[in-house]
């Protein structure tokens, strides 16, 4: 009951092997150079990582795959490097998912095969300089002119939006006003290279150096009317649902981070000596590691429970509300556990923990964003409170 299936464990082994051989040897160099390894993405595609929740007709795993497998892959990549983990998580959750869920057949045929094989990446532009947690405050506008949408505005912090292989970014924009005066928001696909779609230079980030993040500017950017994703005015509902799945994926990424910290710090505590004995004999150290083990276990259980619920929902056996709540709980707990884990691990490593030669330093920088992206910890608490029936 409290075990993943043998298939999931076999798959975990393969992704772990892949991460240790294809990522680990290069990651310090990539991180120092803020290099996005575009060559790695097709290799991840060959493993099938981008197709785990995608039907076979677009190159995905079909019924054999599930959301739980995707979480296993994200956790295992994240255990070696968080940037590579988020590249997958965002590639599927924000890139592929909206197109798969809301796209028409022509849109799916056009974009999905390359995205699923890892020959292309897609992004999802929701956040704006003036609209983050309050995403409904979107200012970007799209106006219909003939058979085109003309987009003006800006997006901030968009993952996978400016890589050499980015094929398309789905953006939310105001397309009108609802009867109650609230803005009508729609999602529109903007292919890379469209005139008027400007990818700003990459941000200088505290962490996630290997992940691709850009601000985007739209200046009279024209795309064909058929690039509308789903129905006009549905954009707000669409991204809320997209984010629910994304939260479970970020939770899995946080589990990978915490797991790595546990392994690294435990190993170090056994071998590093001070005062003539391994530092791990001191309860001041060993109790911290014990607490860390508890956090990893808790985070993993919450994450895979949420993933399992999501798979059950897909099979029509659960309610959206149940999954939403589980996703917010998992994301909140796991990401805060991951940040604590990096703090503990760095402390156990002492001065070495502050040195880039040791991966704990990178995890320390990388973890913080987990509590912010795809809904901050405060937003998760808001959602959970709402799930309790408290007045919004």
């Amino acid at each position: 009951m409290f075990e993943l299936s043998q298939d999931h464990e076999d798959f975990r082994q393969v992704v772990r092997d892949f991460a240790e051989k294809e990522v680990a040897p290069h990651i310090a160099k990539w991180d120092a150079a803020s290099h996005f390894p575009a060559d790695l993405v097709p290799k991840m595609g060959d493993l099938g990582l981008f197709g785990l929740v995608v039907p076979e007709e677009y190159g995905g795993a079909g019924d054999a795959g599930d959301f739980t497998s995707l979480c296993v892959a994200i956790e295992e990549l994240g255990r070696v490097d968080q940037s590579i983990g988020i590249t997958l998580s965002a590639g599927v959750g924000l890139g592929i998912n909206p197109i798969l869920t809301y796209g028409n057949e022509e849109q799916k045929q056009r974009f999905l095969p390359d995205l699923v094989s890892g020959r292309a990446l897609a992004g999802f532009g929701l956040t704006e300089p003036e609209a983050g947690s309050d995403a409904a405050a979107t200012r970007t506008r799209a106006v219909r002119e003939g058979d085109e949408w003309v987009i003006n505005g800006a997006k901030a912090f968009i993952t996978n939006s400016g890589t050499d292989i980015t094929s398309v970014v789905t953006v939310t924009a105001r397309t009108g006003t609802n009867a109650d005066g609230s803005p009508q928001i729609s999602a529109i696909m903007v292919p890379a290279g469209t005139p008027g779609f400007v990818v700003e230079p990459a941000y200088h980030k505290l962490g996630w150096h290997v992940s691709d993040t850009h601000g985007l500017t739209f200046e009279g950017c024209r795309v064909p009317a058929e690039n509308l994703l789903g129905a006009e005015g549905e954009g707000f509902k669409q991204f809320l649902k997209t984010l629910d799945d994304g939260r479970i994926a970020i939770s899995a990424l946080a589990v990978g981070c915490a797991q790595a910290c546990l392994e690294l710090a435990t190993g170090y505590a056994k071998t590093r000596t001070a005062f003539g004995r391994p530092i791990g004999v001191n309860q001041g150290v060993s109790f911290q590691l014990a607490d860390l083990a508890v956090m990893v276990e808790g985070a993993r259980l919450l994450t895979y429970k949420a993933a399992w619920l999501k798979d059950e929902l897909h099979a029509g056996k659960r309610s959206v509300k149940e999954v939403k709540q589980a996703a917010a709980i998992a994301k909140l707990y796991s990401t805060e556990a991951a940040v604590t884990a990096t703090r503990t691990a760095t402390q156990v490593f002492g001065g070495n923990g502050f040195m880039e030669e040791f991966p704990v330093a990178r995890f320390y920088r990388d973890a913080k964003i987990l509590e912010i992206g795809e809904g901050t910890s405060e937003v998760q608490r808001m959602l959970i409170a709402r799930g309790l029936g408290l007045p919004a």
Binding site: D7, D10, F11, V14, D17, F18, D46, L47, G48, L49, G51, L52, A61, A64, G65, S69
Partner: protein
Amino acid sequence: MNIVVCVKYVPDAQAERTFNASDNTTDRENVDGLLSELDEYAVEEALKIVEAGEGEVTVLTVGPDQAADAIKKALQMGADKGVHVNDAAIHGSDAVATSLVLAEAIKKLGDVDLVITGMASTDGTMGVVPTMLAERLGLPAVTFASELTVDGGAGGTATIRRDGDASTQTITATLPALVSVTDQINEPRYPSFKGIMAAKKKPVETWALSDLGVDASQVGLDAAWTKVSSFDARPPRTQGEIVNDEGDGGSKLAAFLSERKFV
């Protein structure tokens, strides 16, 4: 084109490898094992040949229960079926006996056009099984291939490139033949998610010595030509010697090295 790839299940080189205290054989029970990495190149090469033309890849292993994992990995990579020769009497077999069991298993498989092996196992690293096996099967042995080209399908030829220290050789053999491949020949694929799921449905047969007409007395520790009489764990690395440079650091280093016959 029927290809048989011989693969070995070996203790993980990353783990703490040791011997059984009772009979000085490799401990395969208490150490995590895996498909020998050098055999992944053999599996990959077979898959490439079949993917470029047609045919079937059978993976063959001789080993204890856990050796099924080596077959599973090869099937996940894309091989079509597996044969596992598993018999308690095989425990402790040397290369001579192993090649006998492999040869009898390949004969039982029958219509085989190409046998591919790794260049050595990562545990024993003897590298003699391929030639012994070819001899027993009466096949040409073209070993240590860094490149392999198969022309003309089943009745055709296998041409290899063998990189030596002094020269590079191109060698052609008529099929059926045995080819051993080096770690330079290709980049083995990782199993894909689909491959992992598909592997579950692929057939694996398990054979005992009696299925092969091999008598227990021909294999195992008692039949081995050599025996390990004792073993000692390698001592842990000791602290190095620190030379304080008081103007004579260079000559002290040179003395240290020449004492150990490095210079």
